[in-house]
């Protein structure tokens, strides 16, 4: 049988498995929106680690990062930002988790609307987050579609590949909600890591048998690709300004990406955060190091300089330079990275549409009692609608995966970062400040992304965040925050974190003194 047919059959089996996994828990997740959207806030540390990490590693990480490194050098790795996402997840996430437990928050909008006591602000944020989730999800599916075409040698057409990918991802979430997504992400994390190691070991042993990476680097010194291994890289992109801009886009604001934000609410206990503090950066290192080695050493040494389609280097390496089995598992790895990000983002869009728009504006604001099953049903309808919109976008197939997604989605998600941070740590942050900051940040991001070149070598996102933060602070200083908001979001949470801690320290000290006597 031809390898392309075997690979196509393998993809079909994988797709059926994912849909089956989702619909296994269809009945139980239909009972309550809490179960569907937050898995009853019961994810254990390992599952939370895997689902958070792999949700950050999108198809852009597996295909876009090696391509970015091949084009612009190792500085592209700054899109992990020194694993700052892990630090942010613990520092910001623990407070958000406490707030979620205290006040029942599920989505970023739940928190922002309530903290900034503004339904209008909540509606605005949910609208632009949902709007910009779609292109980011579409990019995952475009990457998968492209890879399927290359790997099956054109046997599976692009349109069929993206249609199957979109339908599979959507049905998986519609079936099982957050619980299903989290467990499948855990499977994908293990699959992705195993595949990357297999790919690297095979390519190294096959093409550099006499010295491994050292032999590959020697070849790079001779074939003119050695600049890839240094900053600022072959095109001078990654000087310190480029590094900071890239870190802001790809890492620092990660914690406020809607699907990552939602994961701060689903931890089963504070122990999750204790373990995430060391396990999350290590998981990044484990998964990202092989990706970097592919883009920085193996691809330049094997393919040489000036490869025409750098977006496809992983697909080309795994199909034309490796046997069909490696090609198949590489494709599965891409599915792992792409599906895990796409399903998490779509679920967060569905949660915001059903809870923050439908439930809040149709029921809560009118004083009506809501039916939890009805909310889940509406969430599933939203997912179907998003599936159709995504299908239309992937059919248009924009040219460059990384550029498109980074240009549109990441900078917009990042605009809720100042409001989130100041809302957690600064009592004076007011509704007017948050609105002024977020709106101005979005406007600056649009202008500097599409119309005016960002000044002084920094990215549009850097300027957008600077303006956003400045306006938030200045306007907040000129306005007042209601006392009940300060009591609810600062006094109360500080008393949980610090007063209890002081009491524990005092008790420990007293016990120690008594024991010494």
């Amino acid at each position: 049988m031809k390898p392309a047919i075997l690979i196509s059959l393998g993809i079909l089996v994988y797709a059926i498995f994912i849909v089956w996994h989702g619909f296994r828990s269809f009945k139980s997740t239909s009972e309550s929106s809490e179960k569907f959207f937050t898995a009853d806030r019961g994810l254990n540390p390992f599952v939370l680690l895997c689902t958070t990490s792999i949700s950050v590693f999108s198809a852009l990480a597996f295909y876009g990062a090696p391509s970015g490194i091949y084009k612009d050098g190792i500085g592209f790795y700054s899109n992990t930002g020194g694993m700052v996402a892990a630090l942010m997840f613990v520092v910001v996430g623990y407070r958000l988790w406490l707030l979620g437990r205290e006040y029942g928050f599920t989505t970023p909008v739940d928190y922002l609307r309530s903290r900034y006591y503004s339904d209008g602000y909540g509606l605005f944020v949910s609208a632009f987050l949902i709007l910009f989730i779609v292109p980011y999800v579409a990019m995952q599916l475009v990457a998968i579609g492209d890879a399927v075409v290359v790997t099956t040698d054109g046997m599976v057409p692009y349109v069929i590949a993206v249609a199957v990918g979109t339908i599979v991802v959507s049905l998986h979430i519609i079936g099982g909600g957050m619980g299903s997504v989290a467990w499948m992400d855990t499977f994908h994390m293990c699959l992705g890591f195993g595949t990357l190691i297999t790919l690297i070991v095979y390519l190294t042993m096959r093409y550099f048998p006499n010295g491994g990476f050292a032999e590959a680097v020697q070849i790079m010194q001779q074939n003119g690709t050695f600049d890839i291994l240094s900053c600022p890289g072959p095109n001078g992109t990654f000087n310190w300004k480029g590094m900071i801009s890239n870190a802001l886009t790809g890492a620092i604001a990660t914690v406020v990406w809607p699907h990552i934000f939602m994961r701060t609410f689903v931890a089963s206990s504070k122990e999750n955060f204790r373990q995430m503090s060391w396990a999350m950066p290590l998981s990044y290192v484990l998964v990202y190091s092989p990706i970097v080695i592919i883009g920085a050493i193996l691809a330049p040494a094997i393919l040489g300089p000036g490869f025409e389609k750098p977006d496809n280097i992983v697909a080309i390496l795994s199909t034309q330079y490796a046997p069909p089995f490696i090609a198949f598992i590489s494709l599965l790895c891409l599915f792992a990275f792409g599906v895990s990000t796409a399903d998490s983002l779509l679920l967060s869009a569905s949660a915001m549409a059903s809870r923050d728009i439908y439930l809040h504006h149709v029921y809560e604001l009118k004083g009506k009692t809501s039916d939890s099953k009805q909310v889940v049903k509406f969430g599933r309808l939203v997912l179907l609608l998003l599936m159709i919109i995504t299908l239309v976008i992937v059919a248009l197939k924009p040219a460059s995966i990384t550029d498109y997604a980074y240009k549109l989605s990441s900078p917009f998600f990042a605009q809720i970062l100042p409001a989130t941070l100041f809302g957690l740590f600064w009592k004076r942050a007011s509704k007017e400040g948050a609105i002024a900051g977020t709106v101005s940040g979005l406007l600056v991001a649009i202008v500097l992304t599409f119309f005016v070149k960002p000044p002084f070598g920094f990215s549009a996102l850097v300027w957008a965040l600077v303006v956003n933060t400045l306006l938030l602070v200045v306007v907040s200083l000129c306005t007042k925050v209601p006392e009940e908001i300060t009591a609810k979001y600062h006094t109360r949470i500080d008393s949980i974190i610090y007063s209890g801690a002081e009491l524990t320290s005092l008790t420990d000290a007293t016990l120690q003194a008594v024991n010494q006597k």
Partner: protein, 69 residues
């Protein structure tokens, strides 16, 4: 958590991120072990040290949160 520990933790992070985002771009770039440029080595493996420090700090912090169930 004592104030000194918190200040040291903040200082560590300032130095760490300064090296990772800024200093690494101007450091010399000799090959280590015949294949690993210093800049790439720092970008890839410096975060392991950060993971250890963050783990130690937050382990101590969450020991003060025993009252949070």
């Amino acid at each position: 958590m004592s104030k000194t520990v918190t200040i040291l933790f903040v200082l560590f992070n300032i130095v760490y991120f300064f090296i990772d985002y800024v200093l690494v771009t101007v450091l010399p770039n000799p090959l280590l072990f015949g294949w690993l440029p210093l800049q790439l080595g720092l970008l890839l493996f410096f975060p392991v040290i950060a993971a250890i420090v963050w783990g130690l700090y937050f382990n101590a912090f969450f020991n003060t949160q025993k009252h949070v169930k």
